[in-house]
């Protein structure tokens, strides 16, 4: 069913004669259902011309012999280029477009003066196929996709010009045209292209999909079309740090909303002129949103940093907890990079025993994302088989929101440790028994000297909830402690030049030092334990 009515004829004729494509004409006539836009371009053009033909039936009755084709061709070209001819002859010139084949040949060559080809060749099957080929070649695994498209800012200017023109024409018929009565270019574009994508790739379009296909268009020929706006609305175009050009879509839209009609018409032709070339495709990119893998790790080495230890480009210690776990994930998920985070961390020379420490790894732009729980279990096994320095458990996929639980644990939950203490004075069993009875001991810790170079100087009050001792010999004993999160254990033992008070040394009236430290438990109940 042809979507235009008698009411739309003047506008349609005006737009077609000034170089606007059929789909844009529909948009300006407020055609807001999908079907008409999906028809092939040639069909749209033919239908439109037939619709407008009836107009000049009146003219034909006046002219007994229609002028030969050759002359008409000449007039046709004049008609399309000459705005002045329009105003002088009104319908006369336009109605020369009576011979469908000539018109369509010429109109096919003409790049739409409003959409610059976006609703001409760039929404049709051939182009979409080309995009889909690139998507398939990129090697991503996906079950749905979100399509994002970016148009050059000049399109907004041309749209604005066309709107002013159409508004004026409709005004002559005492009809009004609000900005919102026009169908947006991007909307119409998506109406047409979404089903084509779905068909070609075999997956639905879903706005919430993590897999994004993005196409960016540019039109170098008309890049300067926007520049006049800066002179009139300079405050809309403030240079921002990361942007190459100050003429962004947002800035241009803002300026168009501000500018007065008279000022606009003085600087920009209404209707817009016809460009020589269509838009260029600047980029076709695919990317997948990050996925998150969580688990708990044990650390059995006293010579392993959590993150790579590199000073002045030189690696000080081989490997790290994060690399031993993430390298495997990076490979299997075919991700670009990763971000490792954990619920607190331990020093290079400290082991993590018990249930281990919760961690989460963000895999950036993964190409493979679907894994069964069996596959994840096998991945965990692989990691565990590859190193005896670390072991992981409860490996699972989690959402971004769940990461919050882990960071919560870092600040709020308790931790327990076991330490091997050395004393300068000889001690007996009875000398350490009193420590077992101390509950919720408050200590004040100034920022330890060993981290003072990169942390602010402050005093932190922390609680040692409980302690348990185990005598070894005259100069050694084991100390088990349960403490508040954020307690520096080593400093609690040796006192850090008296800057942690009280400390084991001051409590026992000896010089104490710590020979070994192990994390026995990190009391965070996330991620959920999985039974193996």
């Amino acid at each position: 069913m042809f979507p235009l009515t008698e009411e739309n004829k003047h506008v349609a004729q005006l737009l077609l004669s000034t170089g606007t494509c059929p789909r844009c004409i529909y948009r300006f006539c407020g055609v807001d259902f999908h079907a008409p836009y999906k028809l092939p371009y040639k069909e749209l053009l033919d239908e439109l011309q037939k619709f407008l033909e009836t107009e000049k039936d009146e003219l034909i009755s006046e002219v007994p012999n229609p002028p030969p084709k050759k002359i008409r061709l000449q007039e046709l070209e004049d008609g399309i280029d000459g705005i002045d001819n329009l105003s002088q002859n009104g319908k006369g010139r336009i109605s020369v477009i009576e011979d469908g084949s000539i018109a369509s040949k010429n109109s096919n060559l003409n790049v739409c003066n409003v959409c610059l080809g976006i609703l001409q060749e760039f929404c049709e099957k051939e182009f979409i196929k080309k995009v889909c080929q690139k998507v398939e070649a990129s090697g991503f695994e996906f079950t749905n996709l979100v399509f994002s498209v970016s148009f050059p800012p000049q399109l907004s200017v041309r749209e604005h010009a066309a709107w002013l023109l159409v508004k004026q024409e409709m005004g002559k018929q005492s009809l009004s045209l609000g900005r919102n009565d026009i169908v947006q270019l991007k909307e119409a574009y998506k109406w047409i292209t979404h089903p084509l994508f779905s068909e070609e790739l075999g997956v639905p379009i879903d706005g919430k999909s993590l897999f994004e296909v993005s196409v960016v268009f540019a039109h170098p020929e008309t890049v300067e079309d926007c520049h006049f706006l800066r002179a009139i609305c300079p405050d809309c175009f403030k240079p921002a740090k990361n942007k190459q050009s100050v003429f962004t879509r947002m800035a241009v839209m803002k300026a168009l909303n501000k500018i007065k009609e008279e000022d606009f018409r003085k600087q920009f032709p209404c209707p817009p002129n016809s460009p020589k070339a269509v838009c260029t495709v600047l980029e076709i990119e695919c990317a997948h949103g990050a996925v998150f893998v969580a688990g708990r790790y044990n650390k059995y080495s006293r010579n392993l940093p959590q993150t790579p230890w590199i000073i002045d480009g030189e690696r000080k210690l081989e490997s790290s907890v994060e690399e031993l776990i993430s390298d495997h994930l990076l490979a299997v998920f075919k991700a670009e990079s990763f971000n490792f985070s954990s619920s607190g961390r331990e020093d290079v020379d400290v082991r993590t025993l018990g249930n281990g420490r919760p961690f989460a790894i963000e895999l950036v732009n993964p190409h493979r994302v679907h894994f069964t729980s069996q596959e994840i279990k096998e991945l965990q096994q692989k990691i565990n088989n590859s190193s005896n320095k670390i072991q992981v458990r409860d490996l699972q996929l989690v959402t971004r929101e769940a990461i919050g639980h882990m960071k919560e644990g870092e600040e709020e939950k308790t931790k327990s440790y076991s330490a091997l203490i050395w004393t300068n004075k000889a001690i007996q069993k009875k000398d350490i028994e009193f420590l077992n009875g101390i509950k919720d001991l408050k200590i004040d810790q100034k920022t330890p000297l060993r981290v003072l170079h990169r942390r602010p100087l402050a005093v932190r009050t922390r609680i040692i909830h409980s302690m348990e001792t185990c005598y070894v010999d005259e100069h050694h004993f084991h100390l088990y402690l349960k403490t508040q999160a954020g307690t520096y254990i080593k400093e609690f033992v040796h006192g850090d030049f008296g800057r942690t008070k009280p400390n084991i040394g001051s409590l026992m009236n000896v010089t104490a030092d710590i020979l070994e430290l192990d994390v026995e438990s990190v009391d965070v109940d996330w991620p959920p334990a999985l039974d193996d």
Partner: protein, 187 residues
């Protein structure tokens, strides 16, 4: 950190041994008549992260037998007290900036002698030890740990160069031996 318990206390490296390098400011005994009393030696403990703890060296007069400290003061001039030093943020803004000769504190002894402790290194003053104000004997009992004088953070670019004017432990020990020989020779 050692992974096995050591048998005797002497084989266990101390906290200072493990993480700090000792540097010394010690005037050669020849400079007796120059401003500054003889043997007012300082020991600077430099951590691997470049932070310096200023302490008195064993040969300092205050640490010798028979000396009693009457009072320690951080008021080094009418307008400047090291106790007023306030440091904020990760970059330690607001810290008093010290040069090598900047005084940190004054130690008054019961025998009337007065000693000034200097910074010996350039950098921002982090803190001075308030524990020795309340109990000066700590300075004499544990000069290398609880009895420290101050903590200084050198500029990142200067972390290696600040020790250029100081003696290594070996050089310091040689100076001490020379002094002892000179004293026994003259006495």
């Amino acid at each position: 950190m050692a992974t096995e318990p050591a048998a005797a206390e002497s084989t266990v490296p101390s906290l200072v041994d493990r993480y700090f390098t000792r540097w010394y400011k010690a005037d050669s005994f020849i400079l007796l008549d120059v401003k500054g009393k003889p043997c007012e030696d300082h020991c600077i403990l430099q951590h691997s992260n470049r932070i310096c703890v200023i302490t008195l060296a064993e040969s300092h007069p205050v640490l010798q037998n028979g000396k009693t400290i009457k009072n320690i003061s951080y008021q080094i001039s009418t307008n400047c007290s090291r106790l007023q030093n306030k440091v904020s943020g990760k970059f330690k803004r607001g810290a008093q900036f010290l040069t090598e000769l900047a005084p940190l504190c004054k130690i008054y002894c019961s025998d009337g002698e007065e000693y000034t402790v200097s910074s010996c290194v350039r950098g921002r003053l982090m803190e001075v030890n308030e524990n020795i104000l309340h109990k000066p004997s700590i300075l004499q009992e544990k000069p290398s740990t609880e009895g420290y004088i101050a903590v200084v953070l050198p500029k990142f670019e200067e972390s290696k160069s600040i020790t250029e004017g100081l003696l290594t432990q070996k050089q310091y020990e040689e100076v001490v031996v020379k002094r002892m020989n000179a004293t026994t020779a003259t006495s």
